[in-house]
Symmetry: D2
Subunit: 257 residues, 4 copies
């Protein structure tokens, strides 16, 4: 069983005068940064700064494309054609790639954002559009998604590398989906519990769902964390230390997937 | 004296449901297409279509970055910092480059749009910001501008290749600037007159200004034309034929600059 | 049976440099203008011009609010909360009302645009949000919708006046819905046929569906027409003359609903 | 000498998921709220919430229109035509007025934001465009500006009521302008000093500039304060108490101008 895992976080989600996220604080502790590309969040200046920050801490960079909806932060479902989705993925990857190129950094992966991520997990047509966009730009890019999702199937079929992500700080339903944030107990805040779950996820490839059932996670490549508050940042520090103490190598997914 | 010239035109300036320009009609007759990148005009779908169209006619492709102002079509001056200008240039070039890469086409040049073009011609600081953005992405890109402009000086100093553009269908003031469109006679519509002027511009490197004075144009690499009405398209066909008849090779600027 | 009908058309859907619609040509022939409010189309300048044009021809004015999506022309479904929908309706009505007030014109009605119109016809919750927005600003505003729709029910329940609209140039399915534009024969272009259908709709309150079945239209208050091409404009002229010749008074819906 | 003064603050400047400003904390302590209208900040939902909050604390409401530039927070100069400026002012006032109407609150005033405010202070043509927009919607609205500005002259000439504003927490140059925020000592943070200055401003109509010269402020109707951090909120509480202790009535400007 592989003893390696990546830690990924959404970053660069500020916009102009509006600041969100403790990017400076979280960057040193993660191994893959999903950088917003200006459609749901981020702008050219924020992107430049975030790429510079990632370079400073040698964090691998991924594009984090979303729906064109700053006001809704890319969390509102939009019904776009496959053509439209493919092209907005191409556009956003390209925009970020110009900044990574300018910094001499490679682009490692693509992780769709918010409603686009969720919809593409379930909708094969949409997944094909997203994967088509990724392939069009660079077929060496790794796609982040959850195991058993349409995205995972479509990306694998297209011959793209896939990184399977898990959520150590979120409760799971027994069908493998995440318990809605609206439910009590959906988010786990205790660093020890989260770390314990993460170690189990990486080493055993399973997690215990809210109904007590043990779920097989298939492959586990990257743990998704958050950096939007200081408590979350502290949790990530603890999580990383805990993983390393348990003999797991925390490293960018591009090195082992 | 070199007997070669490029013909460039702004294209891909439609937006969503809104159509502008006879892109299909003009593309076969030009050698360099300046494609809008989504900030002043264009969107990911229009960009994809326009790149495909350029590929069909083997027209060389350039990025046409503008201010973030669809409503003003990038023609309204905005006072941005050097950092902001550099980054919006990087972003827009990158976005277009993803589409050219997806089509297996190279990116030949960058021509700023509207207010950004005009301001960078006169303002050395702004010119530096634009050139900095181009360099950051790819120092092999050719910069389009007018002779004696700040852009020309800054780009040359940075070691970038520069293509000097002329306007065969526009009257010139004796200081080398264009007569304002608000003035009668500022735009020349007769295909024969335009062709005659263009030939003189390419072969003699000069043009006669409105006050009768002959102006030295320095170098002449590319002629800017328009495709926003069918008359303009007919003019370009006539112009190209006239140039070729006069022994001038009409070819993409990347082949000779 | 009432022998009066209104003719309504979407107008003011240009945006900045982008022109759509023959507003000047169509305005004299209609009695109610649905003016875009800047979210799916239109901008403050276009709104000012369109209100001035409506005033010139004494055409009644309505707000035409849409989803915040210029690129998609408000035709792409977006999943917004009731709160968001209510507020975007309030906002857009208010913005237009400032221009009508400045012109000394009253605001007669509200007709949602595109995806918002279609979704609110079927979704009671969304219809409530739209109606809630209208009521919040002015409970004397008339709501345009189709008979038997959720919008019609919700608006009536709220005590708002409703204008039922029909589409004389569109084929109907036997369930009262419009035949998709993707189907052959969905749009009727012959002025005589359209006029004949319109007269029947107004006088008999029914229309013959594509399968030959006669559909009861309930009430018929306003006929929706289009002004996006010159043929459409000619059709509207013919339609209006035909209606008047048949003894039907063509007048703004606010005068009789 | 009048012993009354208003305290105004910019509010409702959040945008979608992005939060700025301690609106809840500051609202009880001010008498006039300048609410962003969706062009430089704010969106329909934020506007609805901010109007509700103002109603709760009986704070008078003003429109705070800005340039169409969320990314630049309305602080970047844009060169628009008079027509464009007039219309964007009309639009934004109307949009906010729909929310105040829905809440049964009157609209008291208009205070342009950021670059629009600063430019209209110095540029008579721009000031005319702004004032023209205000007048077009409602000539009873009060215009906020600084004494001796072009805005003040133009608004007075148009017969509009003007509220002259001062900045108790900012250092003044001897020509009456504010010391640039880039200079040390430009912002005064000590509540006692700010309160002392404010009392002097209201009672004596003057302030001591950085070079020691005493400047005549002409009329003083409203003191501009900030609510973007908790220290600023505390300062406003202290300021209001200090003014009242000094026998000055703190009340909305609409009651005495």
């Amino acid at each position: 069983m592989r003893q390696k895992v990546d830690i990924n976080c959404d970053l660069g989600e500020s916009y102009g005068h509006y600041k969100i996220g403790y990017d400076e604080q979280i960057m040193p502790h993660i191994t893959s940064a999903n950088i917003a590309c200006g459609f749901h969040a981020g702008d050219p200046n924020i992107m430049a700064q975030t790429v510079t920050l990632a370079k400073k801490y040698k964090t691998a960079i991924g594009a984090h494309p979303g729906f064109p909806d700053i006001q809704g932060f890319g969390r509102r479902e939009m019904k776009l054609s496959s053509e439209e989705v493919r092209n907005l993925v191409v556009y956003q990857i390209g925009a970020l790639q110009a900044f990574t190129k300018a910094s001499g950094m490679p682009l490692q992966h693509v992780k769709p954002h918010g409603a686009l991520y969720n919809m593409a997990m379930k909708d094969a047509l949409l997944a094909k559009a997203v994967v088509g966009g990724v392939e069009a730009v660079d077929s060496k890019l790794i796609v982040f998604t959850q195991t058993k999702s349409e995205m995972a199937k479509v990306a694998a079929k297209a011959g793209l590398r896939v990184a399977f992500e898990v959520f150590a700080d979120r409760a799971y339903n027994s069908d493998g989906s995440l318990v809605s944030r609206a439910m009590a107990g959906s988010v786990i805040e205790d660093p020890k519990t989260v770390t314990k779950r993460a170690i189990e996820m990486v080493k055993e490839r399973h997690v215990v769902a809210v109904d007590g059932k043990t779920i097989d996670l298939g492959e586990v490549d990257t743990i998704c964390v958050h950096g939007d508050n200081l408590k979350a940042v502290a949790l990530v520090r603890a999580l990383r230390k805990g993983l390393e103490k348990a003999g797991i190598t925390v490293t960018a997914v591009g090195k082992f997937v």
